[in-house]
Symmetry: C2
Subunit: 658 residues, 2 copies
């Protein structure tokens, strides 16, 4: 579908509904008919009446309904929040196409129920504690020249400061990295315009490297660090040893954005709690929510990435928890500057041309527009208004901004359209505000239900936003959906931002399997995913043939020192071998290759009484090891309905007593 | 919305689309206008053209689109397959309203990341092996007088033969039971018309009670058992000690259905593999798929539940793995009979009036309609055609049936409408066939994409099916959706079965987070779920106030022998206490009460480096215990975006070195 619709579609719809059938013909034909004279109730009118639809509803229905066999124009990648996963949603139909297992095991995908994915997730544990969940917030699509390229997706875990890499060839997680440098991030990742770095900003300060210090020593010993994870695109992996970090003061850093075009090579990170409050509400301190909300200004962190790289190359780093860290006193005034930002900001967003930075303070009513040129000039002139307690120079606020725009109560995040308009979510007011970047004036507001956090526009974080669609990620749904108990779904609202007649709410999508914070929306045709795995025996995490690949006819059982290795093939509708005999206490290593090469010919492997679940896509190989602890007879079977005889795709693990 | 639409809607739609705007007025109004004279292209036509919609698409869009603030008419509870969960979907909008954590941990719900839910799931492990996934297939809504009553949902785990109870007051799992009697079920649960019993049929035979026996002793030592789990509705719990089972031969039992009305007190279980094949494809045997497909007839198991209860009361049971089991030789001819069913059947479904039983053999082209009256008469007359190798009398097939209907290639499952029609899924042909129960003749087929397994009709398993909607649960989606890698979503297709003009495909819903097998569809207004938990301090698993409830002002830390107990409250926007001090190695017991009583005011609790995630709905209390293994500083925070200051709803666990 082209979104460049005739002008008629860009105005409020003029739908004649009453009297259609009789007016326009007796129906039953697939052909459209010219309308005739008015008359009695017809079928569209009857449908509208029966279902309580008004004209705007009809327009919205026709703009979102995607008939069988037609596919969606955009894909949205949304974080799942504390589900730990990523959601993939088609636009405009707002249908959930996939949940990608990232920080939480997902048996339907065999994710973390076999050897390779379990080991990958275990490596993402912290200090020997395995972690089986995460809190994903900000997905970042890989970029080439500032445009989404559809190759990779990155996502962070706020709860334990980890970062995952998802390969969009197969929509599967291939890497989880964690640094003990920081304890917490904002669940966010942000990429530089050519994805050289994946940026992980900190959130809640702690002594760097996992040390203990009393909280009363906050100012002296607690810190944050912005981590620049080096991404090797050819390998499809983050390279921890080529990564580095910049130490930052014990404020609470929040979102980040990378400069682009004019501001390429610069990074912007906002912060709140420059008050350095840390709570202590049972020892007479104010709770953090008020302690952290005293100052009128917090600090936008302006980072010169190119200079930081030089500092690393010059060896001006300290290694903490295996990570090279540019100390705060080295970074200050060399690669790091501050500029005031009103008040407890949440969003920082670089405009598509890279020339301006938009910050919204959630306790302020404005969006503030910083000029990158001005920031750079002030830095070049060393024109400072002072410095913070850690020696970081503070640029003069008034001279750094182009202006402010009065948005409303609780502005949070800004996205951009292709036509000089910006869109800002307004939490307390529960609206999305559209405003002119040129005029710094709000032109329109649309109500949302209720309490929007982030918003996402089509290709909205790129150098060339598409406009067309915007999704409002609302945090409560209260009265929007049928009751499903005290834990309600979240609410994604799809908004048409391509109409000349103004924004139009098109669709409410409940999110009943997570609490998404942010999403990015990419043209679907930019994603060139694989339909099957080739060659047969492909291991998705190793991204190549598995050393244990099993060819048809090579199925076998081998007793080795480390246990019994069973080489299995899967093909409709049997596993070979279908009877596996071991002895009580044996360690069993299953190596299973799905020999199929037809699209969608997925098999699964499940077994009674053992915590193993594999999903074997066409051509995929998976390994699973477990101890056969108890003698007995354990059926295994294909967990996918793979053919009419799928129930017969079964076998037995026979564990003989010793 | 009433589904009793005007006749005009029940015929193929007569949509006049071209020329609407000019014909009918200039648009922009919310009011419907009478149509006028024909003219040029208008906006509905433009939308149809731009998005490639035909008239049927417009009708389907208007029949499914559910505008903001309007709620769905039906709720569908679908199994998640090897996701281990249950999906809740609204009809007709086909929106996923919730995923209920059942056999797999779900951190967004705090499910199995805190003490009570983790302990509940751990009790569902088998022989000391904790299981963190399941394979759900057949959800069963609780019934009163054969109608769904909206109180409970039951679901089985095929992989490890377990059964879960979900309370529909809060859509939360409250119990998981497992018996070591059997190793495998069909992931199915089926209830008696007043939910006295939840029936779990076996699938793959094994020695009862978890014993080992060589597979070559299949005929002698392998068995199945149909378990009748006693449900205590007032307590909302299955009572294992009041439950019992009936031993059955080592065929592979499959689906079940309970008799109703005329056949109340009887149970029907079908089977395949009466050949007693067990594979062995690497030792020269045919694979199970062909070994199990030799016989022209398998056996429908006819169980007299009331007589079985008497046998139990008479003590004619053997206790195996703690379960009272009616041995096969006791049951045969007393409470268990067989009747032939053609060939490798998959579905068995009792008609709404309880007078007939429909069975489809997936390798046969017919549905076979058994008369309950005839079955009962043959049993009464002891008119047998023979007996199986285990002494179970076989009723004469020809005298037990009313007839057969030629359905098509690969008929699987049958659902019912309110008007004497039945609907059968046809796997190989990829259609749903509508047929007349009176005439035993197919009246219509509708193609589905592709390869339907189960189908579900609105209130379709009750004594009073609604008609209106039917969902086809298709196993592959191939070309229906935008590419998301080699693991494709499943495909739910919503079909309008309320039209006089014939069945109409309304909607394609991708399922990208599981592999549903079956679903049940209930009128939404039958579910009376809670909006909040009351009184404050409610524990959803205990279904009452938690003994550790924390009132506002009663927050405290208590050092006890078993560790440090921390009593915490949560309220927008802080936890009290927000600083928790313990020593390295301490066991920490968190007891957190969400004091909120406003709908949707949910808080979460997440903490760095520890595998704890809680979801605290309004009024909910949760407990979480963990060992503070490593000294350090661990931020915790509210994982739900609960207010504009949710980022400030945070605190610290300080683990001091010893």
């Amino acid at each position: 579908m082209s979104r460049h619709l005739p002008i008629a579609m860009r105005t409020a719809i003029g739908l004649c509904a009453a009297g259609l059938a009789t007016a326009c013909g007796q129906g039953g034909s697939d052909e459209l008919r010219p309308s005739g004279n008015g008359g009695a109730n017809g079928s569209v009118a009857a449908l509208m009446q029966a279902r309580g639809l008004n004209e705007a509803d009809v327009e919205a229905a026709l703009k979102t309904y995607t008939p069988t066999g037609k596919t969606d124009e955009y894909l949205m990648f949304a974080s799942g929040g504390h589900s730990g996963q990523v959601l993939v949603v088609g636009l405009p139909s707002m249908r959930l196409l996939k949940v990608i297992g990232v920080f939480t095991p997902e048996p339907w995908q065999g994710y973390a129920y076999g050897d390779d994915s379990s080991a990958m997730l275990a490596r993402g544990g912290r200090r020997g504690v395995p972690l089986s969940w995460g809190d994903t917030h900000h997905p970042a699509l890989s970029e080439t020249n500032g445009d989404y390229d559809g190759e990779y997706l990155f996502i962070g875990d706020k709860s334990s400061a980890r970062v995952a890499v998802i390969n969009l060839k197969d929509f599967a997680t291939v890497q989880v990295v964690a640094s003990d440098l920081i304890e917490s991030d904002h669940g966010g990742t942000f990429v530089t315009p050519n994805t050289e770095y994946v940026i992980e900003g900190p959130q809640y300060p702690a002594p760097l490297g996992g040390e203990y210090a009393p909280i009363e020593e906050w100012n002296e010993k607690y810190r944050g660090a912005v981590i620049f994870w080096k991404f090797d695109r050819a390998a499809g992996r983050i390279v921890p040893e080529d990564s580095f970090a910049i130490e930052v003061p014990p404020y609470m850093q929040d979102l980040s954005d990378a400069g682009k075009l004019a501001s390429d090579g610069w990074i912007f990170v906002n912060s709140f709690n420059t008050e350095r409050a840390w709570g202590g509400n049972m020892q007479g301190n104010p709770p953090l929510e008020s302690g952290a909300s005293q100052n009128d200004m917090d600090y936008l962190h302006v980072i010169h990435l190119r200079r930081a790289e030089e500092l690393v190359a010059e060896g001006k780093t300290r290694t903490i928890a295996g990570m090279r860290v540019i100390p705060l006193d080295v970074a200050a005034g060399e690669a790091l500057w501050f500029v005031g930002e009103p008040k407890s900001p949440h969003g920082v967003d670089v405009t598509p041309d890279g020339r301006e930075i938009v910050v919204s303070g959630k306790l302020d009513t404005h969006a503030t527009i910083y000029s990158f040129e001005k920031l750079k000039a002030l830095i070049g002139q060393k024109k400072f208004a002072g410095e913070d307690p850690y020696g970081v120079p503070i640029l003069p606020f008034e001279e750094a901004i182009r202006g402010q725009v009065e948005i409303g109560l609780g502005p949070l995040h800004t996205q951009f359209g292709p036509d000089g308009h910006a869109y800002t979510s307004v939490f307390i007011e529960s609206v999305v505000a559209k405003w002119s970047l040129a005029d710094l004036a709000v032109v329109e507001k649309i109500p949302v239900h209720y309490n929007v956090g982030h918003i996402a526009a089509a290709e909205g974080d790129t150098v060339s936003p598409d406009g067309n669609y915007l999704v409002s990620l609302n945090k409560w749904s209260i009265d929007r959906y049928a009751g499903v108990g005290p834990l309600l779904p979240q609410n994604f609202q799809l908004i048409d931002i391509g109409r000349e007649a103004g924004m139009q709410l098109l669709y409410d999508m409940p999110i009943g399997n997570g609490e998404p914070h942010y999403s990015q929306i990419i043209k679907a045709d930019k994603i060139r995913s694989d339909e099957i795995y080739t060659p047969v025996g492909f291991n998705p995490i190793k991204r190549g043939p598995d050393p244990h690949v099993v060819a048809g006819g090579q199925e076998r059982v081998e007793a080795r020192e480390d246990g019994v290795h069973v080489y299995v093939t899967a093909v409709r509708s049997h596993f070979t071998p279908d009877i596996i005999r071991v002895k009580e206490g044996d360690t069993v290593h299953l190596h299973i290759t799905n020999l199929e090469q037809a699209k969608d010919a997925t098999h699964g492997f499940g077994i009674s009484g053992h915590d193993v679940a594999l999903s074997l896509e066409p051509g995929e190989h998976a390994n699973a090891s477990f101890v056969a602890k108890s003698a007995g007879v354990y059926p295994f079977y294909c967990t996918e309905f793979c053919s009419a005889l799928h129930l017969e795709m079964a076998g037995y693990l026979l564990v003989e007593p010793r």
